[in-house]
């Protein structure tokens, strides 16, 4: 064993010596390796991680949805203010497969806030005309969005998810929610913008029908700073589509926004002050357009509708439910529905058209407290006193739309409102005032077409040509000079002393006659008078003879004057020469020159006789005188009777002169032209006057056709 103990010194043995190993006299814990710290640390870390993940896994809540599209267990997240606050762990069904239930693990920091008013909805990508919402979900998949108030409340672990995002989808929005009511919801879709002065300030929810099915109700949400303008006096109107206004300024096309064009939109404005604050339960009407909304400001919110009906004869084509009812141009109501009913018996049966309408009592100016009965009473008064009638009138000449107009016709036959009529009191009607623009425009065109425009133009051209030719004719230029000469001569004749003396003489005779008659009244002899009258008769015969020529002259002058006045240029020119000659001849004749002295002598003789009579004064002669006076008077009247003959003669003379003149002028180029010109002028004048007459007869016919 020594070799063994020496170790390597003798390694020749088969079995090497065993190494001396002293057993370690140490405790077991002293033999523990420090390496054991590693698994311990690993265990601690693992346990720590496990604990942490267990403690931090959050609360499990269940959210039920009608439709689980896009929900993927382990992948769909729950977001609050776009931050992940949870993860869908399970997607299953509620009992009876009625709903999809998503088990969502919500982080601990938001779990306390999930109380009863928490709302959840699924955000999916949505493409609409207003843009694409939820674009991030296209890539990441749908997620559940949540919204709750920042106050911790009684924890709830089961929620019912919303089918669509709530209106105030941004948590913390403190806007105002109101309800809008429309008659027609097809212009508006969920999410449509609410505009205020063109700015989008809110949006609307899903349209739904009211309980009675007559109206469409839409929840509207108006964001915070803008809801301050909301009062009960606020008016909402439909801003959908576009406004096409045809006015004096041309055609105006007003498109609010592409979104509102397609998706619809609602504008609002507070048009008058004095409204009270709105509450969640406030319901607003949505008017068809801004103009209507503004008109409605004058109506009171609580005015009571007054239902009336009217029966119209003929077609009501163009009248529709919703058509205006106007009174003096102000819209006071609208047509609610149209219908027909059969009236009468047997042969008299006929179909009549019944129009039901609704009047707003507030529009009639009765004040806020007025009831429908008051309004009906007022209308009844109008109908019986002022002749208020309903009639159809054209609302738009372009569309042919009609409206019901309440007009006052004081001359109308008396009528009253038929209170017994069913279903509503019936207003008396009057003839419609319908303008059919198509027929009218057709008529206007036809009338314009029928105008003899071309003939008129031809005539006018001819006239102008003729006038031109006439004006340049030397004959015509000579006429004025000769006419002036004629007038001068005429004036000389009239102003001659002899002629001027005649009236004085006649006056003297008249005075003498009066004196004689005064004497006669005093009872003087009739015989003298008879003799005197006989003499006077003789004298007067002379006067008549003398004056026989005189009327010829004066009549001729007058005739000539008239002729000159009434004379067409034709006659004037032609007659000038003849007139001058005749007048010269007359004035220059001896008869004419002799006339005044003869007349004077006759009158002097009469005067002498009368003077004698005045001096003689025998009553016995009175009878004779009277009969003589009678005879004288007869003679005078005889002489007077011959005056028409004279006049005839004169006319004949003039006619003869004219014949002569026309004979003289027949070949004259001047005359021919003149006649032709005048004829054409007359034709032209006829055309113009015919047109003028047509237009004058009814000025509006050209435009209105009626």
């Amino acid at each position: 064993m020594t070799e063994r103990e020496t170790g390597l010194t003798t390694p020749t043995d088969d079995i090497p010596p065993m190494m001396q190993v002293r057993p370690a006299a140490v405790r077991w814990w002293q033999r523990l390796s420090i390496v054991w710290l590693i698994p311990i640390a690993a265990l601690v870390v693992s346990l720590g991680v496990a604990w942490q993940s267990y403690a931090g896994r959050g609360e499990l809540v269940e959210i039920s949805f009608q439709n689980g599209a896009g929900l993927v267990a382990g992948q769909t997240v729950l977001k609050y203010r776009d931050v992940n606050v949870g993860l869908v762990e399970t997607v299953g069904f509620a009992a009876g497969l009625t709903e999809v239930v998503a088990g969502v693990r919500v982080t601990n920091d938001v779990a306390p806030f999930l109380d009863a008013n928490a709302q959840f909805w699924i955000v999916r990508p949505e493409v609409s005309v207003r843009g694409i919402t939820g674009l991030d979900t296209v890539l990441s998949g749908a997620f559940i969005a949540g919204q709750w108030d920042p106050e911790p409340g009684q924890a709830v672990s089961r929620f019912t998810g919303l089918e669509a995002a709530p209106l105030n989808a941004q948590p913390g929005d403190r806007g105002t929610r109101v309800t809008l009511q429309l008659r027609d919801g097809n212009q508006i879709s969920a999410g449509a913008p609410i505009l205020h002065k063109g700015i989008e300030v809110g949006n609307v929810g899903n349209p739904r029908l009211s309980d009675d099915g007559n109206l469409v109700l839409i929840e509207a949400y108006i964001n915070q700073p803008y809801d301050r303008v909301l009062t009960t006096a606020t008016r909402f109107w439909d801003a959908s589509g576009f406004d096409l206004t045809l006015g004096a300024g041309g055609v105006t096309l007003d498109v609010k926004s592409l979104a509102s064009l397609i998706e619809g939109g609602i504008s609002f404005d507070t048009l008058e002050s004095g409204g009270s604050p709105v509450t969640e339960t406030t319901v607003f009407d949505v008017y068809a357009d801004e103009a209507t909304a503004r008109d409605s400001v004058f109506s009171l919110q609580n005015d009571e509708p007054l239902a009336l009906s009217a029966v119209f004869d003929g077609s009501v084509s163009g009248l529709a439910s919703g058509s205006d009812v106007r009174f003096r141009g102000l819209t006071v109501g609208r047509v609610t529905d149209l219908g027909a009913f059969v009236e009468g018996e047997a042969r008299d049966r006929r179909v009549r058209l019944l129009v039901n309408m609704e009047l707003r009592t507030g529009k009639l100016g009765l004040g806020e407290e007025a009831t429908a009965e008051d309004a009906l009473a007022l209308l009844g008064e109008f109908v019986s006193q002022n002749g208020l009638r309903a009639r159809l009138a054209t609302a738009s000449i372009l569309t042919g739309g009609l409206l019901v107009e309440l007009v006052e016709e004081p001359d109308a036959a008396p009528a009253t409102i038929d209170l017994a009529s069913q279903p509503y009191p019936r207003l008396p009607v009057t003839a419609p005032a319908i303008t059919d623009v198509r027929a009218t425009s057709q008529g206007v065109l036809e009338r314009i077409n029928a105008l003899p425009v071309e003939e008129l133009m031809q005539s006018a051209i001819s006239v102008l040509n003729s006038v031109d030719a006439l004006a340049s004719n030397p004959d015509l230029q000579r006429v004025p000079g000769e006419a002036a000469g004629l007038l001068a001569d005429t004036r000389a004749l009239v102003t001659s002393d002899d002629v001027a003396a005649i009236p004085g003489e006649v006056r003297g005779i008249t005075e003498d006659m009066r004196a004689v008659l005064a004497k006669l009244e005093q009872g003087q002899a009739v015989e003298n008078l008879v003799a005197a009258i006989a003499k006077a008769n003789t004298a007067l015969d002379g006067v008549a003879t003398a004056s026989a020529d005189f009327p010829v002259i004066t009549g001729q002058i007058r005739d000539l004057g008239e002729k000159a006045n009434a004379l067409e240029i034709e006659a004037l020119a032609a007659a000038t020469t003849r007139l001058v000659d005749t007048a010269n001849g007359l004035i220059g004749s001896d008869d004419a020159k002799r006339l005044p002295p003869a007349l004077t002598a006759a009158l002097t003789q009469v005067a002498g006789f009368l003077a004698e009579l005045r001096e003689g004064g025998a009553i016995a002669n009175a009878n004779g005188a009277i009969s003589a006076a009678e005879a004288a008077a007869n003679s005078i009247s005889e002489a007077a009777r011959t005056l028409p003959a004279l006049s005839d003669r004169l006319t004949g003379l003039v006619a003869q002169a004219e014949g002569t003149l026309s004979g003289y002028g027949a070949e004259s180029r001047f005359n021919t032209e003149l006649v032709k010109t005048l004829r054409e002028l007359q034709v032209a004048a006829d055309s113009v006057s015919s047109l003028a007459r047509t237009i004058q007869r009814n000025p509006s016919s050209l435009l209105l056709g009626r």
């Binding site: 033999r31 590693i38 265990l43």
Partner: protein
């Protein structure tokens, strides 16, 4: 008849294999510390083994890869990833992943535990079989890191911001630790003890 160095009263260097007299503290050739048998060797094997096993649990429970693409965001665990690959039809790759990530580490745990136990219960295996097993374990240990490499390369290469991003999950760290711990366990094993009676 073979004898061990210990039986010959000598001490062999574990690093370079030179045999020294027992009183030599450091290898005269390579300078490594010499010890005939590590008294705490088995203890350290078990400690590393346990640590490796502990961290291997989260490595399988937690996601290995966080893949974020335009359309989705997926987290895949080791086994989940392998199954997914298999479902996509990449059976070969799925097999590689499965072998590298599951079969080999689990086999290593079993092998190390078996070796450690067989030192006390000699009848389980012959010394040669034990030694071969140890060699295989030590050799194969580094290849277990293939998963971690894949994750590291993917995470560094696939960084297209929004389009696609891959991030290592917590399991990658656990798995790397597990591999490291088991390698350490294998390293702690003193193969000379196989031959001790």
């Amino acid at each position: 008849m073979t004898i061990s160095a210990r039986q010959a009263g000598l001490v062999g260097c574990l690093r370079c294999g030179r045999v020294h007299l027992p009183d030599v503290a450091l290898c005269t050739r390579c300078g490594a510390a010499l010890s005939s048998r590590d008294p705490n060797g088995l203890q350290r094997v078990w400690a590393w083994w346990l640590a490796g096993l502990l961290v291997y649990i989260p490595a399988n429970l937690y996601p290995m890869l966080l893949t974020r693409t335009l359309t989705q965001r997926t987290e895949s665990t080791i086994i989940g990833g392998a199954v997914e690959l298999f479902q996509h039809g990449d059976a070969g790759i799925a097999l590689i992943v499965f072998v590298a990530s599951v079969v080999i580490p689990v086999g290593k745990f079993i092998a190390i535990a078996f070796l450690a136990m067989s030192l006390e219960k000699r009848h389980l295996m012959t010394e040669h079989a034990q030694h071969r097993l140890f060699a295989v374990v030590e050799f194969i240990g580094r290849w277990s890191m293939i998963d971690v490499f894949v994750v590291a390369i993917l995470a560094s290469l696939v960084r297209f911001d929004a389009v696609a991003t891959i991030n290592p999950g917590i399991a990658a760290v656990s798995f790397a630790l597990s591999v490291a711990f088991t390698m350490q366990a294998a390293q702690s094993f003193d193969p000379r003890t196989i031959w001790d009676d």
